[in-house]
């Protein structure tokens, strides 16, 4: 693929669309608004295509694994079978049909709930194993976590009603101050990154490595 198609064209398109969206946010110009609305609509259509592309990509990898009798190929058969089952039921009966909903609730909901339960259990054991009070910082973290957690559950206020007052204070003051700092810093970084992308200085969004630029 030529450098024009691979780098310059996507860069130019990103810059044009980006500038139109930025101008539309700050200035109310009808023509720009029309273009901005159209580009936003295109965004949702492209996202739908991206989902389809993802499904094709997953199917392609699994089919190749089955053909090559690769690692755990039987799981690829299971994945493809489930995918075909869900897509065909969704397309023929609709995703609001009782059969589709029953399939979803008896397969995906159950599996997802159990996966998250395992994550919860692993987090529980990991927290007990890893949370070591070795410094002033880790002691403060431990105390803050304990106070906020005890403020939200009945046993905390049953032990001492002051847990709620302290927990509310930690949530409203130090938590907000710390997180706000993170958010503002990240936002400033985001603005800089977006501006660099718009003027063509930042090419990683287009999949181009820094070394190439």
């Amino acid at each position: 693929m030529s450098i024009l198609m691979r780098k310059n064209l996507p860069q130019a398109l990103t810059a044009i669309v980006g500038f139109i969206l930025v101008v539309d946010y700050y200035f109310k110009i009808n023509e720009i608004r029309l273009l901005s609305d159209t580009f936003t609509l295109y965004g949702t259509i492209i996202a739908a295509f991206a989902l389809m592309l993802g499904a094709f990509s997953v199917a392609r990898i699994q089919i190749l694994n089955i053909i090559k009798k690769g690692k755990e190929w039987y799981l690829s058969v299971l994945l493809l079978g489930t995918m075909i089952l869900f897509i065909s039921t969704g397309l023929s009966l609709g995703t609001t049909s009782s059969i589709y909903k029953t399939m979803y609730n008896t397969i995906i909901t159950i599996i997802s709930t159990h996966s998250w339960t395992l994550v919860g259990a692993a987090t529980f054991t990991a927290a007990i194993r890893v949370f070591r009070v070795k410094s002033i910082e880790s002691t403060l973290l431990f105390l803050a976590a304990m106070l906020v957690t005890f403020a939200t559950v009945p046993i905390g206020t049953w032990i001492n009603p002051e847990f709620k007052t302290i927990g509310d204070w930690i949530m409203s003051i130090p938590t907000v101050a710390g997180n706000r700092g993170f958010i503002i810093t990240a936002a400033i970084g985001g603005i800089v990154l977006s501006f660099r992308t718009l003027i063509g200085k930042e090419k990683r969004a287009l999949g181009v490595e820094l070394t190439e630029s």
């Binding site: 609305d37 936003t40 609509l41 965004g43 949702t44 492209i46 996202a47 739908a48 991206a50 989902l51 609709g94 995703t95 609001t96 589709y100 909903k101 979803y104 609730n105 995906i108 909901t109 997802s112 709930t113 996966s115 998250w116 259990a121 529980f124 054991t125 927290a127 007990i128 194993r129 949370f131 070591r132 009070v133 431990f142 304990m146 906020v148 957690t149 005890f150 403020a151 939200t152 559950v153 009945p154 046993i155 905390g156 206020t157 049953w158 009603p161 847990f163 709620k164 927990g167 509310d168 949530m171 409203s172 938590t175 907000v176 997180n179 706000r180 958010i183």
Partner: protein, 282 residues
Amino acid sequence: MSKNNRIWKKISKLDDRIILALLFGSVIVTQIFPVGLPLPIMDTTKWLYDGIEKYASPGSVIIIDNEVSPGLLYENGQGSAAVMTHIFRKPGIKIIITHFTPESPIMFSKLVDLKWLNIPDDKKYGEDYILMPYLPGIETAYAAVAKDLWIYEKDLYGTPLKDIPMMNEIKTLADVDLIFQTTISGGHADAAIRQWAQTYNIPFGWCLSAPMLPTYMPYVPSQAFGAIGGVPGGAQYELLIKKPGNAVSYSDSVSLIILLSFLMMVIVNISEFMSKTGGGES
């Protein structure tokens, strides 16, 4: 190494199976023998309740952005259902339910099927509330819906929006008076606050997962007037709307698990300290 030291070392390297057995046991015991400890109502929960009381007035249009996930159904499903039940109880309001994750439309019907969410009989589909289908694109999709709610063209069941009476006077987000979002995804929470609440200056309330709540506290109570997090938030909200349900019944389990986890953290830390300093050795 002395006998005492070996014991301390053993405790500090507690077997996972013992920890998990204690976790499982504490859940079972509290479900069989509930204690029913009084539940504290956090400020953020009260703010959410008060905000909905204030903004969900007759004639108002409300968007419920339902992003309940199947995996964390028991984490934020009850809280979401409690807040939605509160909103649905309000007379003379129009509710638009949006979905930006593929699974959330099914999760909405799951909340109704489980009877966690009660839609009153006097609320008619198409006249008082409408379900929108899944729209991909997260941030772009939120921005597109804000500019034109008719981007959907059809509702979840395939009925054209022009045939749905309540949509006649609702065109963009500027026609909306209140937004309530339930999500466990930072991407969706960020997109809603940026593209909806902040840009259109619309009162906004949240139901998040418990670990997300501290992260999103900088937005509360300014950009979001209130928020609840996970099972504790759901339980508090169930009490506020006087409909104690599953979240309240899980509160004892959550309490015991929390107490157990902190006790074990303290014990493991003490034992590690003692094993290193040779504690207990005569």
